[in-house]
Symmetry: C2
Subunit: 362 residues, 2 copies
């Protein structure tokens, strides 16, 4: 029998999420020793997790045979304190999980969502998966930076619009939204999903606005500045009604106790966080300056990554692979092309190796 004939229409149209190339892939394609490859492709924390988080994770392993707390109450309380807000917090298996619950609650056939692009491709995948149509609203491109086109977003809102996605700082362009821009969008009364996965690397967070706007949900993650991508912990700040909806539709035991306990400890290790943020901020300025020095367009960034344009020379990305430096080609980002790549900020010597290789190639 053909299973395919039973598959929902919305599912048949879903594209596969494309993640950065792995060290093993590059080693096998280009015949490079694994030890000679550095991976600057997934915006991970090159310092690794906080030692305190690892200790808490080990402690949690002792009760690995017991189901975790479905609501992760201790972690939620700590997150409220960390963000200094009175809104509700819900935790997910990475922020991907929280994003899926939000789409699941609001999007179905006949609906649409506005997505400021280029951005993280998973928003669009989720909207399609639940039967909705994603409409891409291009960012405005300036000389050295991108910015959100608020007027275009406002003009695109229609009755079937269910969600508006804004990533700030935006992956992969690095620009942030201002409070007044966000408030203009919130006034549409559509549900606005503000993904702040990279907020720790920027100057500010808008999570406090969830106290005022019931149509705002702000997501965050432990995968970036906190260096816990492998453990899977993300969260959102929102109002009580949305929290209760998410608790109903999420998998009951979605966040492992190891992730809950490690995240809790990571929040308290302020020193490790500050060191991680400082490394990313210094590294991005170094990369931007050197790339511009080589005559390339490198965009300002509030994240732990830099978007670089190699006009007319898309082969540079593969040349970097060949030298054992894995960056993220941007051909799969709507609004970008093979002429762009994103490089994650690494350790100081990794950033230097990247810049040196880029110089040799250019």
């Amino acid at each position: 029998m053909k299973l395919e004939k039973f598959v929902k229409k919305s599912i048949s149209n879903v594209p596969l999420y494309v993640s950065g190339k792995t060290i093993e892939e590059i080693a096998s394609i280009y015949g490079i020793e694994v030890d000679n490859i550095i991976r600057l492709a997934s915006n991970e924390n090159p310092l690794g997790p906080s030692p305190a988080a690892l200790e808490a994770a080990e402690e949690a392993l002792k009760v690995s045979h017991l189901y975790p707390d479905p609501e992760a109450k201790d972690l939620c309380s700590a997150l409220k304190e960390y963000m200094n807000i009175n809104s509700e917090i819900v935790v997910g298996n990475g922020s991907d999980d929280v994003l899926e619950q939000i789409v699941k609650i609001f999007v179905e056939y006949g609906n649409s969502a506005l997505i400021a692009v280029p951005t993280f491709s998973y928003y669009s995948i989720l909207v399609k998966m639940y039967g909705g149509i994603p409409y891409n609203i291009p960012l405005k491109k300036g000389k050295n930076s991108f910015s959100f086109d608020v007027n275009s977003i406002l003009n695109s809102v229609e009755s079937k619009t269910k969600l508006i996605f804004i990533c700030s700082p935006n992956n992969p362009t690095g620009n942030s939204i201002s409070e007044s821009e966000l408030e203009e969008i919130l006034e549409t009364e559509k549900v606005v999903v503000l993904d702040e996965a990279y907020k720790e690397f920027s100057e500010s967070s808008m999570a406090e606005l969830t106290e005022t706007y019931s149509n705002l949900v702000v997501t965050g993650t432990f995968s970036k500045a906190f260096g816990l991508a492998g453990l899977r912990a993300g969260y959102c700040a929102c109002n009580t009604a949305l929290k209760e909806l998410i608790l109903k539709v999420k998998q009951p035991f979605n966040v492992s106790f190891v992730a809950q306990n490690a995240a809790l400890a990571a929040l308290k290790d302020v020193e490790h966080l500050e060191r991680s943020v400082k490394l990313a901020r210094n590294g991005r300025e170094y990369i931007i300056k050197r790339a511009r020095g080589l005559g390339l367009k490198a965009y300002d960034s509030q994240g732990n990554f830099v978007l670089i344009k190699v006009e007319g020379k898309p082969e540079i990305v593969e040349d970097l692979f060949r030298k054992g430096i894995i960056v993220r080609g941007c051909g799969s980002f709507p609004g970008l092309s093979e002429e762009y790549f994103r490089v994650s900020v690494g350790l100081e010597d990794e950033n230097k190796m990247f810049v040196d290789s880029l110089r040799e190639i250019v």
Copy 2:
């Protein structure tokens, strides 16, 4: 603004999943010391996880800052070997996650699913969440055991039926399906979800039939016999077409590397598995015999739990709570009532405490 007006119809009808009461809840309600409470409510492994699994988990923690392998290739290979099958394997954040992906792929408004009840309540919750209608097909109740009503299932199949859920051994009734019964159901050509979360405690698994029937998907978990409920790892065996669909709709990084690596090691610790299974088998026979000796109806079980009927005396469940013994009341299982409870097999002394308390109450 009222967020609720934007919520999908299917979501408004979803009931909250009810899990077993926690030690903290019972301690606070009945004023009992936490140390004087034993919890036999969630079919966890009382021996805890395999030491080899814990060691592998600790090893995995060292790379907690890196995203895990989205396909969990090493774990999938090991699972094929463990089950001795050539079908495909897909891994999830617990089997709850795999179950959700299957429902997501097939169920939408206008569809329905057949569910052999009483059983694990999450199937019904998922079907409702995706807009489908769950039809409960009652098990047949014998003197000492339940059995699947295959004829009733076959007679209930209609064109809008998208999925048929069978849990075997069934939670909470303990009975298993035979190969010939399953094959009769598979001949309907509907997609059949066979949840084998408890298969290690029984005599057999039907996963091999996924090699023959493309409409069969068999789920399994590391939360029960392997004692890794807190880490979140489950899986399914299925054909290639379904595997590719699940990979498209699941969250890309759904299973932490800690869970992947611990599960891999757990599969290899045959001794711990055998000890866990033996404890459960001996314990369930002990509990059944003693409960019957007290004049109660205790059903035969192929799982690590026993279903007990306390005819006309539903207050017995609360009496057990009062004595610090947490069992799972079955009022929320369709087809059962407050007159039933499920007790998970614990350590030998816990089983004895349970039986002694039951004797005092009865």
